[in-house]
Symmetry: C2
Subunit: 309 residues, 2 copies
């Protein structure tokens, strides 16, 4: 194989109660990359589309390059590759844009080289991209992006990632408002301590969400999509947050919260029609505070990255 | 029916990572009560055995009476009953002694009166006993005692209790050392705040334990039986804690921690023989610090309270 084209999906991290430990993949949006073997060693980014010129083509400073460089280093390989990256998703949106690039890169190069490592083994390399992008090697976007489905991260040291089955008719709505929240800022406004009382409440919802997903108990999922620790702090970064969340719930969503560090918001619903209606209601609420937005509706993506050609 | 004899089981609350939200019932030890209708209104405790004279026979100040009085009050009933309580389990041991009495009482009177309320509806009355015994109406002993099995409490307000399936071959070992820890003290030494980092770790283990139990994934159960918030604080109240825990793990336990507020310690194992071996190893470790102890080995009790006659 001399070249390969790959898609890696956007992801919703945190999922209300699961700060830093829950995430799921969606069918769209996502990143596409084309990788071509080249005769000389090194990773060369030849083209980036869809980023409005914001991403560097320096492979050592772009998540798509960082994950591949870490992979090649580990394999002790001097294989050279050229990369075309098509950002088919918004940057800084809370949809795991950097994770999608990281995963696309390391998945593509592993395929191109005949799959010497398993998909799960690629996770640490993809996390290196996240370390660069956000200052911490968090896995709640990278893991669902790479593995597909809904993922719980039991532990970071050692890394312990669990796939959680989800009901077939569970649909996600993502609404991306045309504002930007810096991931580092969104992390820095969080308190370093939390009350034991809130911790207990959050743990109850974490237990409830896992049980609800595994039992396909939509009411339990709905009751568990509550975040008493992070959402109350970060909501202030999103104009119209209360209105948008209220609109989602009124339109029949099981729950609604911030996607990752925001500003995108996500909702879960029990069928595609509801998910669409929820998206339109959320968009209208953003319009009400003079903010334009894009809507994405998707099932829970079970595949993770895929080869397009 | 003029009289009834009932058994209600001991329970292990917290279960390592699930402070205030997880609990499970065991087959033994437990409480027995005999309830007899009497002609005059009121709850009269005529006899208490096995408490070394420590429990009051004043029904308004004994958990077994409090739950029944709350029940009768709610039903607006002037039915009178006399109660014999046989404590077949140690008091102040971290095994849900007060919960077992509470549940035995309210379960028995509901049966005696022809079951006007469902088992689940009895929970709030049983919790009134807990409020009296420990200062907070916590449910992590009462709920598994009443419902059987492994229980997660998603929320206290409103009360939302979820039953979690457990693997058939999961066995519990409880070792009760002959020392006493006051539940209020054990609660008062806890910090009111916890770091966000520890909260995230704990949430990961909560998610892992629920998923592990529901998937019958023993390795995941084992990795998830970790408590970074409560156990490090309360362990100092139990002489020999580290040695006992180490002995349990060395003997093949999946995990080991404090049962409820202690001083009893519990372990989970993947078959009865291991659970027995684990108990003996834990007992030897307590003996090593000059503390006598009793061992209980049991499957996860799926029945809750039962009518004995």
């Amino acid at each position: 194989m001399e070249s390969i084209k790959v898609f890696a999906p956007a992801t919703v991290a945190n999922v209300a109660c699961g700060f830093d430990i829950f995430g799921f993949a969606v069918d769209n949006p996502g990143d596409e990359i084309i990788l071509r073997k080249k005769a000389t060693p090194g990773v060369e980014i030849t083209k980036i589309e869809g980023d409005n010129g914001r991403l560097t083509r320096d492979a050592a400073k772009n998540t798509v390059g960082i994950s591949m460089l870490a992979y090649l280093h580990r394999l002790n390989s001097d294989q050279g590759v050229s990369v075309e990256l098509k950002k088919k998703m918004p940057l800084g949106s809370g949809l795991g844009s950097s994770a999608a690039s990281s995963v696309a890169g390391v998945f593509a190069i592993n395929e191109l080289m005949g799959r010497p490592l398993s998909q799960r083994d690629l996770l640490p390399f993809a996390m290196e991209g996240e370390r660069f992008a956000s200052g911490t090697p968090h896995a709640d976007n990278v893991a669902p992006c790479l593995l597909g489905g809904f993922v719980a991260i039991r532990s970071y040291t050692p890394l312990d990632v669990i796939k959680i089955d989800t009901p077939k008719d569970l649909f996600a709505t993502i609404v991306h408002p045309q504002i930007e929240v810096n991931t580092r800022d969104a992390r820095n406004i969080l308190r370093k301590e939390t009350s034991l009382k809130n911790t207990i409440t959050q743990m109850g919802n974490v237990a409830g969400l896992i049980a609800g997903l595994m039992k396909s108990d939509y009411d339990l999922i709905s009751r568990s999509l509550v975040d008493v620790i992070i959402e109350p702090v970060r909501a202030i970064l999103i104009p119209g947050f209360d209105e948008v969340k209220g609109a989602a719930l009124n339109a029949g969503a099981l729950g609604c919260s911030i996607s990752g560090a925001g500003p995108s918001m996500f909702a879960l619903s029990r069928d595609r029609d509801t998910a669409k209606r929820v998206g339109e209601a959320m968009q209208r609420a953003f319009t009400g505070v003079q903010i334009e937005s894009e809507i994405y509706v998707s099932s829970i993506n079970q595949d993770g990255p895929v080869v397009l050609g």
